[in-house]
């Protein structure tokens, strides 16, 4: 079984017989040696990278949705509802738009990142539906070991682009020798899994796809919004954003040390594939025609070729670049059990031992650090965390369909996909309001915008099920919070002036969850109300309010920002016991 797809270098023994390279070959060579040797892999990488960009910047861009004109029903059920009770059709343009555009799932890559689903499942001790797709990709990678890293991972491709554009030009930070860092990824993997076992989910800090998703979110999304919709719509940054961006830039800058430094040595998602490589059925092999020219060692972007030119099987991504540069066609990509005319191992000697004294020390130190890190993450989240037992602790309003808060913190991978899909940026990245534990989780900021009645995107794009994928029919009745009127500040309640912004907005959105009450009526000498005195003021109907926050957006936007009458919105959505519908996982099936 041969899996070769590289372009072989054909060198004829006699110089005179050599032909000049063809046009295509010349173009490929100009781009770079890896393009000339294994163009198929670069093409596949490009396709997946573009898929990632399209899914993030197009599928998860809600503003292609157009509301339907007028109230006209489009289905028979809608018509009959309208004729029977005068109920206007519930708008669904954001939901429909996402469904229409989702040719591939918006969160495809997040589902494929095995560490995302694995750590979430461990942390929440539950089945996470994306485990299935992660399982499939791991299975595929049994045939193409670490193929995810070489072919699929958009972060890997981005790092390749960075290395090609910048990394190869800046030489001063390059490190020549292998150092203590070469096995970091395993310890980070171990650390995140230990933390997950304690119910703390930190894999999102280091997993490949969440890292690039957040990077794109905090770098690309503001630009997209700013240029396409207006700069006033860009969500202001806070410390949480800065930390995430530094992390993302750090990942790229590591490429100055060595090409793909992050992927080779640090990425814990890659480590999962490295471990899975133990079960590989295919691998790179070198035949005895090898002339020890070292071309393959020099070109390998993954440091996966030992000094004796054989393969570090846990690191090889089967990119096949080495095959293309080998002058003697000695490299083959075959099944694991192919032993035809192989080159002798340890020649020249690699000076590598299975596990020497120093290896053992570093293994012990690394493992100890991993355990310490995992436990520290647990300690940090208990000491400086959400403090769920405390009724007075900060409780953010979560997106509609979120699982209960404890499970939510264990299941949210902090990838930021939901922010991107959310129209008007209702969802904001949390900073340190809940300490370390809530960092980058989505919270509703109703001062900024309210939840669109026709949208259910956040649940659809969530890769871990922290936000359940609710159908719009269910979502529109799912309470995310409860609006509460501040009787001291609300303009009519306080007797200051007439105002019905929140009521109008609630009616327009179709919830009809705020009604009026007459307040501050003056009475005459007989105790009868005087016509024309007092105000009508808002009263929230708790059985109808879903906590979308549209009322708060309007009160804050007009009464606080525009008119300066209030410091804060006088109607505020509040989360907490009895105010939100947050189902447990076991009652839910996906």
């Amino acid at each position: 079984m041969r899996l070769d797809h590289y372009l072989p270098t054909l060198k004829r023994a006699n110089k005179a017989d050599r032909k000049p390279p063809g046009r295509i070959r010349r173009v490929l060579e100009r781009i770079g040696p890896s393009m000339a040797s294994a163009p198929l892999r670069r093409v596949i990488q490009t396709v997946f990278f573009i898929t990632f960009l399209v899914s993030f910047f197009y599928i998860c861009w809600p503003y292609t949705a157009q509301p339907r004109q007028g109230d006209s029903p489009i289905t028979e059920a809608e018509l009959d509802a309208l004729l029977a009770s005068g109920e206007k059709p519930w708008p669904s343009h954001y939901t429909d738009d996402l469904k229409k555009k989702e040719v591939v799932p918006a969160d495809l890559f997040l589902r494929l990142d095995p560490l995302v689903s694995l750590s979430t499942a461990i942390a929440s001790r539950s089945w996470v539906y994306s485990l299935a797709s992660a399982g499939i990709i791991l299975l595929v990678c049994v045939f193409i070991p670490r193929g995810f890293c070489g072919y699929l991972c958009p972060l890997g491709t981005l790092i390749d682009v960075f290395d090609w554009l910048i990394g190869r030009r800046v030489k001063r930070f390059r490190v020549a020798k292998d150092g203590w860092w070469v096995h970091i990824k395993y310890y980070i993997l171990l650390g995140t899994l230990i933390a997950a076992a304690f119910g703390v989910l930190i894999s999102g800090f280091f997993s490949a796809i969440p890292v690039i998703t957040r990077g794109m979110l905090f770098l690309g999304e503001p630009l997209q919004t700013g240029f396409l919709r207006g700069w006033h719509l860009v969500v202001p940054f806070h410390l949480g954003h800065v930390i995430s961006l530094l992390l993302f830039i750090g990942v790229l800058v590591l490429g100055l040390l060595r090409p793909r430094f992050w992927c080779k040595y640090v990425c814990p998602s890659g480590a999962v594939f490295s471990v899975a490589n133990l079960f590989r059925v295919s691998e790179r092999k070198v035949e005895d025609s090898c002339i020890k020219c070292r071309k393959c060692v020099d070109i390998c972007p993954f440091d996966a070729i030992k000094p004796d030119f054989t393969t570090r099987t846990t690191d090889c991504t089967l990119c096949q670049t080495c095959g293309g540069v080998c002058p003697t066609l000695s490299i083959k990509f075959v099944d694991r059990w192919d032993v035809m005319s192989l080159k002798k191992e340890n020649e020249p000697p690699t000076h590598e031992t299975a596990l020497g004294r120093r290896g053992f020390v570093s293994l012990a130190t690394g493992s100890a650090l991993a355990v310490t890190g995992g436990v520290a993450a647990k300690a940090a989240s208990s000491l400086w965390g959400a403090d769920l037992e405390n009724r007075d602790a900060f409780r953010p309003v979560r997106p509609p369909g979120s699982v209960p808060e404890k499970e939510f913190l264990q299941m949210c991978i902090r990838c930021g996909e939901c922010f991107k899909a959310c129209p008007n940026n209702v969802l904001h990245a949390e900073g340190f309001e809940q300490g370390f534990e809530g960092l980058w989780t989505p919270m509703v900021k109703a001062d900024w915008a309210g939840c669109e009645s026709s949208c259910n995107a956040c649940g659809q794009v969530c890769p871990t099920g922290a936000i359940q994928p609710l159908p719009l029919e269910v979502k529109k009745k799912t309470r995310m919070a409860l609006a509460e009127v501040n009787l001291q500040t609300c303009l009519p309640h306080a007797g200051k002036e007439a105002c019905q912004l929140c009521v109008d907005d609630c009616v327009a959105a179709g919830y009809n969850a705020i009604e009026f009450i007459q307040v501050h009526t003056k009475t005459d000498a007989n105790g009868n109300p005087v016509e024309g005195t007092g105000f009508v003021a808002p009263v929230v109907l708790a059985d109808k309010c879903v906590g979308c926050g549209l009322c708060q957006t309007r009160c804050f936007g007009i009464n606080a920002l525009e008119k300066g009458l209030l410091r804060q919105s006088a109607i505020v959505i509040v989360a907490g016991e009895g105010k939100e519908d947050r189902k447990n996982l076991d009652t839910e099936s996906t």
């Binding site: 109230d71 708008p91 009526t521 957006t553 936007g557």
Partner: protein, 407 residues
Amino acid sequence: MKRLFLFMLAATLANADTIEMMTGAKVEGKVVENNATAKTLTVEFYLGGKLLQRILPYANIKAITVNGVRTDLNAPASATTRTPAEVQALIAKVGPTEPDWFKSTNLNFPKTLDLSWPSKPTSGWSNQKNAGQFIWDIINPNASRWREGIKFVTHLMELNKDDASVRKRATNEIANMHFRFFQDYARAAWWWQKAGITIEDAPGFHLAECYWRLGSRQMALDFMNGTKLVYLDGIKLLGDMGETDRAVKMAEYYDDQDAWLLAGDACRLAGRLAEAQAFYEKVINTPAAGQNPNRVKRTTGRAQANLAAIKLFELADVSKVADGSYKDSSLGYEGQVEVSVKVRGKKIEDVKITQHKEKQYYSSMTDVPAQIIAKQGVKGVDATSRATITGEAIINATAKALAQGAR
């Protein structure tokens, strides 16, 4: 074939009638039969390639627009003229019947209410204890509770049927609710007549209005002639009835801010805009002495708003606007929306949104200006569906901008 299809499509669209539901929702269909005796409409709807037929009771429908003519199904009386005898017959026939929603409406009120409805509530103001205050605070401001309100007062009347004073109050209140909430003039008149209301009583002019709305101007005027006194309600009703001269005369006799405001309204309704402006300006410029300051503020405020509305919608006529660019703004969803209107040769050339803070409802930003340009004005432009607030802000700002140029 394609041409035939287009022709048929055009033909169907030309026949599109609009059915306006009670809730304000609108739907397009084709009215194939209007059965006035059974009080039903048969309507065909063309939905997703299917032709559906539905029979709709009048009770669910507010109005229909057939071939561009709008008919209010539930207020047929205003369109026709009746003799006083016919009006009285109509009141006697419809008045004692229950509205068709009455049976299916639930009784819904706090258990803590004192259902004996004493005329002078003992404790302080409490809408959870005193029935009248419950109606005032909670029923009146919420359209969704109006049916419940009539049901509730009917319930109070039955509970206290031996107490003449409560019975009279309930009778009056039921009439009042039919009148205010549903413009159900026949029932309102019947209940007021039952309570023995004369023109000197507080709701007297409302009863006169019922007679007029039901089709007899003469009956209303005769009833009003039962008093020699001048009432504000009288000025208003005369103005609404189009008896503008009489209303103005009465207002001049009454001679205070409230009366001038009503006279202004009467003139505005009759299209006598210059006089209306003069009255409104008089309200604004003449400080009222010895009045409740809040009330003065409210009256002045209304005069200002009406004056602005005249300038906006009745003077914002592009044929009177000089060439140039005009900018103005109006309050939108998140803040002021500023619009720049370019007029040349009595035509609106361009409408641009120059500044805004809106986060959502972007569709109206392109749709509404396009409509304004197409219709060459702000009349008849609808705010884009689901973007009403932004759309209205654009319409108002455009009207204000146009009004600047209309000198």
